[in-house]
């Protein structure tokens, strides 16, 4: 039964198959790394942002409950000033060289947020200045 010729033929066939398999495995692994990389780019930022968001809500919850009720008005005006940090997004829109709709929108938003930042912090300072303990 051991015909040397057919044996050699099968061996070479098997070797060919093995080579083919290795090649496909390599392709697959390449696809896999690519997929994980893509996955990392599509999935992680949102999850990361959500993590930051949820933790910040908790921080806000505990910090704000400790604010004394007497200072609830300054709390409102300072949070109002602070939420104008949205100006960060406005600056980027107003920054490019060429004039565009986005740039105008950016300019308007920068102006509005600036009113709030200056107004909010100054009015808060004015209020806090008044909370003095008289001797």
């Amino acid at each position: 039964m051991a015909d040397p010729a057919s044996l050699a033929q099968r061996a070479s066939e098997l070797a060919g198959d093995a080579g083919e398999l290795a090649k496909r495995l390599d392709e697959l692994s390449q696809q896999l790394t690519l997929a994980t990389q893509q996955g990392a780019h599509a999935g992680t930022p949102l999850v990361f942002e959500l993590t930051v968001f949820v933790l910040a809500v908790f921080v806000g919850y505990y910090v704000v409950w400790r604010v004394t009720p007497a200072l609830h008005s300054p709390l409102m005006s300072v949070t109002n000033a602070v939420s104008s940090v949205i100006i960060v997004g406005a600056l980027i829109a107003a920054g490019p060289m060429s004039m565009s709709f986005a740039k105008i929108m950016g300019f308007v938003a920068v102006t509005l947020a600036a009113v709030n930042i200056f107004g909010g912090f100054i009015v808060t300072q004015r209020m806090l200045q008044m909370f003095q303990r008289k001797k």
Partner: protein, 464 residues
């Protein structure tokens, strides 16, 4: 500057903002807290200005100078009694700024690295739509609140038939529009989303009456935070997300505290129309012809001077009459006579959280003479005179006894336990809740009819 380094600086700014809120836990640390806030904002702006995308500065500087000048001017000139409407106006600006930034991000997504025009990342699109919607609602909602507080429109709740149906319809339409917009990314839908959100914000606040404004302002404060948060998600900016979340939760907590102060649910407040369903004030037991003891400033001065202890209960009427300075002067004279004078503040007195505290502080009242409801309520029983100035519903004992009253269950200041109650009021009219206050007819109550400021000045004259 590398992305990593600016992210680090944004983190520093976020921590500064947390410190700013943390400082408010006591009046002693609050001022340094505000400095932290200013520092955080400066770091955030400067860090952004040095990013490579920003190459043209003249428009930015123009905006900062114009906005800064307007903001500084208003903040310096505003009267403390006008604080609630100022805060409402400021909230509207945050809302409008959020709408502008969302529009810019939609028109030029490549500047923000969130895709290209017509092919913006799916998640960024969702976040953009949400930020935009909340921003637009905050804008018109705050404008309505401002108009009500400023007296441009009636402070009474404005209700029309089918209002809740219209609002519910608009709410559903908004959700549909957001879904359609995210699927198609059409500019027409973007514009429509803005318009419907603006209308929704307008109609949402319209039915809510003046005395519910503490809740409304807190709620809009919260919205302005969530709007910043939505924009933060769109631009993948941690600083915006953190700050938005801080502000959002702060406003939410304040709304909760204000609702608790009235024993009403937030839903009940938002649905609006409070104080109108009863129409004319329901005549309390006994009707309108019961005897009311009214006195003059001289009578009041005599009672106050001979009292051992006085607790002053201020309300919105004091703010309207700008009576805080005259009131403090009166209190000073009493203290010279050896009378113990303290102030009791109800959580929802006035038109915004902490409104009364600020006005008393403005009039140089030492903050350790000012007490919250829980801290002082037990002391009324051992107090000679409760001096109620411009407040009504927050002292009404019906909140404890009358199950059918709209204010039933609301925590009140127990002024009726004091030996004598002096009510400074312009007339016998019922308060915001439209409920008559049976305290006016009690034997130990004396009504002092007149403008709060004039009354205090007359009492001062009589004390001299």
């Amino acid at each position: 500057m590398s992305d990593n380094f600016s992210a680090l600086l944004y983190l520093v700014a976020s921590v500064c903002f947390i410190m700013a809120l943390r400082g408010l836990s006591s009046p002693d640390t609050a001022r340094s807290g505000n400095i932290f806030g200013i520092a955080g904002m400066a770091i955030a702006i400067l860090t952004t200005l040095v990013t490579p995308q920003i190459v043209s500065f003249w428009l930015i500087l123009t905006g900062l100078v114009i906005g800064g000048a307007i903001g500084s001017y208003i903040a310096r000139e505003i009267q403390m009694t006008a604080l609630p409407q100022l805060v409402a106006a400021f909230h509207s600006l945050v809302g409008l700024a959020a709408v502008c930034v969302a529009s810019a991000a939609f028109a030029a997504p490549e500047d923000y690295g969130i895709g290209i025009r017509g092919a913006i990342n799916g998640s960024s699109l969702v976040e953009m739509a949400i930020g935009l919607t909340i921003g637009a609602i905050t804008f018109t909602g705050s404008l309505v609140a401002f108009a009500k507080l400023q007296g441009l429109v009636s402070g009474r709740p404005l209700v029309f038939p089918g209002q809740h149906l219209v609002n519910a319809g608009l709410g559903i339409l908004l959700i549909l529009l957001i879904v359609l917009f995210v699927m198609t990314e059409a500019s027409g839908l973007f514009a429509l989303l803005v318009l419907v959100s603006l209308a929704f914000g307008f109609l949402l606040i319209l039915p809510i009456g003046g005395a519910d404004m503490p809740v409304v302002i807190s709620m809009l404060n919260s919205y302005s935070g969530w709007a910043a948060c939505g924009i933060g998600f769109t631009l993948s900016n941690s600083l915006l997300i953190i700050t938005g979340a801080l502000v959002g939760s702060s406003g939410a907590i304040l709304s909760y505290i204000m609702c608790k102060g009235m024993n009403r649910s937030i839903i009940n407040v938002i649905l609006g129309g409070f104080g109108t369903e009863s129409g004319a004030a329901p005549a309390g037991p006994g009707g309108g012809d019961r005897l009311v003891k009214s006195g003059s400033a001289e009578d009041a001065a005599f009672i106050l001077k001979n009292a051992g202890s006085v607790i002053i209960v201020p309300g919105y009427g004091m703010a309207v009459a700008q009576a805080q300075h005259a009131l403090r002067e009166m209190a000073d004279m009493l203290k010279k006579e050896g009378v113990q004078v303290r102030y009791a503040i109800h959580p929802v007195a006035g038109r915004m959280p902490g409104h009364m505290n600020v006005l008393l502080a403005e009039a140089n009242v030492s903050y350790d003479e000012v007490f919250e409801l829980d801290a002082i309520n037990h002391d009324f029983a051992s107090t000679d005179v409760a001096f109620v100035i411009g407040a009504n519903d927050i002292t009404n004992p019906a909140a404890k006894t009358d199950h059918s009253s709209p204010i039933y269950g609301m925590p009140i200041l127990d002024v009726e336990r004091a030996k004598t109650v002096l009510f400074v009021k312009r007339s016998m009219a019922s308060g915001y809740a439209g409920v008559e206050n049976e305290l006016f007819y009690r034997d130990n109550t004396m009504m002092l009819f007149g403008d709060a400021k004039k009354m205090c000045e007359e009492i001062i004259k009589a004390l001299e």
